[in-house]
């Protein structure tokens, strides 16, 4: 894939990718964009081996998901919900975002559950596609979705 071709595809997919990562980072836009840039550089470097024609978005999401997990592992996040509240309110969180409750509730989920929930509800992927993106079994994804949904509903009082 040429650089021009890659840029063209990224221009089309950047909003979905950044949205996905913004949710994974619970509204921390700077962190989400940083991970998005890292993921895109990784994608560019491995774009020579990209062969899944027409599934660029899934491929990109897979790289972004792995980059996010690596990022989390390197930071060893241990913040509690209170710390999360402080972070969201004090850093460059998505300013246009009115309801931070969802971000705060998402922050209480483990990263893998957060990914599964975001891909399912925000991006509209089905269980099989989520399993491919997150490199987990379909049963594992089902459990993550079920646990995540119950936890979110409880936190958000839905």
């Amino acid at each position: 894939m040429t650089r021009e071709g890659f840029i063209e595809l990224v221009e089309r997919e950047q909003e979905a990718l950044r949205g996905f990562l913004l949710y994974l980072c619970c509204g921390n836009k700077d962190e989400a964009d940083d991970i998005a840039q890292d993921a895109l550089v990784k994608a560019y470097l491995s774009s020579a081996g990209y062969q899944e024609k027409g599934r660029f978005r899934s491929w990109l999401f897979k790289i972004a998901h792995n980059t996010f997990l690596n990022h989390k592992a390197s930071l060893r996040y241990t913040e509690s919900i209170e710390e999360a509240r402080e972070l969201v309110s004090s850093t460059a969180a998505d300013a246009s975002f009115e309801h931070q409750d969802l971000y705060l509730a998402l922050r209480t989920l483990p990263p893998k559950e957060r990914s599964a929930i975001t891909l399912f509800y925000l991006n509209g992927y089905n269980i099989k596609e989520i399993a491919t993106i997150t490199e987990a079994s379909e049963d594992a994804v089902k459990k993550q979705l079920s646990r995540g949904r119950d936890q979110l509903k409880e936190k958000l009082k839905l």
Binding site: V41, Y44, D94, F97, Y121
Partner: protein, 132 residues
């Protein structure tokens, strides 16, 4: 698995919008430029090191051949070194002293050449970086 309607509506209602798309792409392009530069630099370095290795290998073989020829041209019945103590291994070493010396010298010459050429390459690449 069915979607929870309330949760889905919440996610979709809060779908993030980005008004800095161009700035994001400009930043990405800058990173890709840096990546391209590093890639080119790495490829050039690898090419230089490969060439240096080939040169060192050829020069090492020639030097080794010359050394062996020199050693073989000296009187064969006189060993290059002997030992005061007579044991099996020391006798074998003394008997093959010419061949062993030739091999050791060839290896030394090869490693020396690799090191010298590597250092020269490093110095040259430093010069190129400075001129930027």
């Amino acid at each position: 698995m069915n979607k929870d309607k309330a949760l889905e509506d919440l996610f979709l209602a809060q779908k993030p919008q980005f008004d800095d798309r161009e700035a994001f792409m400009a930043s990405l392009n800058k990173r890709l430029d840096a990546v391209e530069y590093i890639k080119q630099h790495q490829e050039a370095t690898i090419r230089r090191y490969k060439m240096a290795l080939v040169v060192a290998f050829v020069v090492g073989i020639i030097s080794g051949a010359v050394t062996i020829a020199f050693l073989l041209s000296t009187p064969a019945e006189v060993p290059l070194f002997t030992f005061q103590v007579e044991t099996g291994i020391l006798s074998w070493l003394a008997a093959n002293s010419r061949l062993l010396t030739a091999t050791a010298l060839s290896l030394l010459i090869t490693f020396g050449l690799i090191s010298i050429i590597g250092n020269i390459q490093d110095i040259r690449s430093m010069r190129v970086e400075k001129s930027f």
